[in-house]
């Protein structure tokens, strides 16, 4: 957040200084985040109170291996987005003043998302979700022409979501007298106030409704046409996926009271929502526009994550978190590819322009294949292992409804991936126009594709070191049962 002020000040003097200061702040943050790993592995979660004050005046941060790992992903994706912002700014003839403002807003967005990952206080989560929404709306204003209406709707919808989150936390506060997430679970358990937990759960889940629909072409058609694809990719990969992680945290670490069961109607609604999100795969397959297809795919993949949250077993949650990491890379990759392969900064991006791309630029075509194969779940991409674990969880639970949904999705995606691969490598005499793609434009795509492959190749290390410690205590092989009470670990 301090870096954002620094970059803003630098922007008044020189565009170049502002740009390099933003890079410096992002790399410094990434370095600091990486430096926490040895301490985390040696001593476990790291608690830190900003200014030594308790929330809500101060901010208490808890660093855990998974959140820090996710923070690294987030920072790398933001670095890529900022790099592409420079290229886009040149192509679109963006005003320097707008670009100077884009850097600080991006930094505010990053700091609020990092706080959302690390904070363990309900009100802090609300506050920083609201800040993230405001900075996201500001970013849209910076990178679009005439994007006032879309920015207004994003600000309004996001703020309404944040308000619902606050509503949920206030209900929990009224029932338990605390806003600390660990304390809330302990006090709800003592009070056995199931009805209040259910009511709060509805609001805490509904809070993400707006962000989870982003950037579905149903609701954001004009925004899709106006905004450079990599900004859409950044928001749908980091903001939306951070929201999914927070939903996981709220459901399994705050509202998961032993002995509480959900009404049948609510379970039916959850299944319906999963099907609704998965149905976006069909819409993605029917698109003729690459950008719209990527937008539908971004929303559709959330259905797979929600499936894991519904199943709730160890394999399901491990698969969900693995899939979450993979999706962050894939979604950013797809949107960046749309931006890199289009000739114009905004407008239509027809699939027909990709015909024969594999013969023209093999490297870029292969990166696209990696992204698509990760969505399908073909080894050794990162997307395979998450889906494999989810499949295992569905089999363990014998949930035939979700099994059918998963299988149908897999079949549809295999067919779509086959068609897409054919399009990339088919030989066309009436050659589509392919502009020469410079290495600087290709580099982010190559980086993301390699990251997806590495995630798949080192999946065991990722699961063992980062994902398993992030699971609820019931799934950990700890010898002594630990019950969180009043923020302390009590045996």
């Amino acid at each position: 957040m301090a870096g954002a002020w620094l970059v803003l000040t630098a922007g008044f003097f020189s565009h170049r200084v502002s740009r390099w200061t933003t890079y410096g702040v992002l790399f410094l943050t990434l370095g600091l985040v990486l430096k926490t790993f040895p301490k985390l592995f040696a001593e476990g979660p790291w608690h830190y109170s900003l200014g030594g004050w308790a929330p809500p005046w101060g901010i208490e941060l808890v660093l855990r291996p998974f959140t820090v790992f996710m923070a690294c992903f987030l920072l790398m994706l933001v670095l890529l987005a900022f790099f592409l912002l420079g290229i886009y700014g040149t192509i679109a003839g963006l005003l320097k003043t707008k670009e100077n403002l884009g850097g600080p807003l991006l930094l505010v967005l990053v700091s609020s998302l990092l706080t959302l990952l690390f904070a363990r206080d309900g009100f802090t989560l609300y506050l920083f979700l609201q800040i993230a929404v405001v900075s996201g709306a500001g970013l849209f204003l910076c990178v679009t022409r005439q994007g006032w209406l879309e920015s207004f709707y994003f600000l309004l919808g996001g703020s309404a979501g944040a308000s619902l989150l606050l509503m949920g936390f206030i209900l929990l506060y009224a029932s338990t007298g605390t806003l600390h997430l660990d304390d809330t679970l302990a006090r709800l358990f003592i009070a056995k106030n199931f009805s209040m937990a259910l009511a709060a759960g509805i609001f805490l889940s509904a809070a993400w409704g707006f962000l989870f629909c982003f950037p579905s072409p149903f609701f954001f058609t004009r925004l899709l046409d106006l905004t450079p694809p990599f900004v859409l990719g950044l928001l749908s990969s980091v903001v939306v996926r951070t929201g999914v992680y927070l939903l996981f945290l709220l459901v399994f670490f705050v509202l998961n009271i032993p002995g509480m069961s959900q009404p049948e109607g609510m379970v039916a609604l959850e299944y319906f929502l999963v099907f609704l999100f998965l149905a976006h795969f069909i819409l993605a397959a029917r698109q003729k526009d690459f950008l719209h297809s990527a937008a539908y795919l971004s929303v559709a993949q959330l259905g797979i994550l929600f499936m894991g949250l519904i199943l709730g077993s160890k394999s399901a949650l491990t698969g969900t978190l693995m899939e979450l990491l993979s999706q962050m890379l894939v979604v950013m990759g797809l949107f960046s590819a749309v931006g890199v392969l289009s000739l114009k900064p905004a407008g239509a991006h027809p699939f027909s322009k990709l015909a024969g791309l594999g013969r023209h630029d093999f490297g870029v075509a292969m990166t696209l294949i990696v992204f698509v194969f990760s969505i399908v779940g073909i080894p050794p991409t990162g997307g395979f292992f998450g889906k494999f674990l989810l499949f295992q969880a569905v089999l363990e639970k014998k949930d035939w409804i979700l099994m059918t949904a998963l299988l149908l999705t897999a079949v549809l995606n295999v067919v779509s991936a086959g068609r897409f691969t054919w399009l990339l490598f088919e030989h066309r005499k009436a050659a589509s126009f392919h502009a020469q793609i410079s290495f600087s434009k290709k580099a982010p795509l190559l980086f993301l594709a390699i990251a997806i492959l590495l995630l798949g190749l080192f999946h065991q290390e990722v699961i063992h070191n980062f994902i398993e410690p992030a699971l609820p205590k019931a799934f950990l092989n700890s010898p002594v049962p630990n019950v969180p009470f009043l923020g302390k670990q009590v045996e």
Binding site: P56, W57, F123, L127, Q130, V134, A137, Q146, W148, L149, S151, F152, Y153, L155, L156, S159, A160, S163, L166, M167, I170, Y173, A174, G177, L179, R222
Partner: protein
């Protein structure tokens, strides 16, 4: 009871008003409902509640100012705040 009425009115306005200023006002009404709810809790004597009221009011004020600024910009440009009308003009 007042807080529930304000929240319901706020949600209704968010979904059903076409005028952007009214939409923003509805969101503010929803936030006001939450602040009223916190006022009721403040009678329990926990100082934390007062802090929450102050912070929520501050955030609401800041966001409503931003929404107001966007509305003003749209009004100056399109001479209307009807969402559909503006969308139609932008599409042209």
């Amino acid at each position: 009871m007042i807080s529930i009425i304000l929240c319901v009115l706020g949600i209704h306005g968010l979904f059903f008003y076409r005028n952007l200023a009214l939409k923003a006002g509805s969101w503010a009404l929803f936030q006001l409902g939450l602040i009223f709810f916190l006022f009721n809790l403040a009678s329990l004597g926990d100082p934390l509640t007062n802090v929450l009221i102050l912070q929520t009011a501050g955030i609401t004020l800041a966001v409503i100012l931003l929404q107001g600024a966007l509305c003003l910009k749209l009004w100056k440009r399109f001479k209307t705040l009807d969402g559909r009308e503006i969308a139609g003009k932008v599409s042209k």
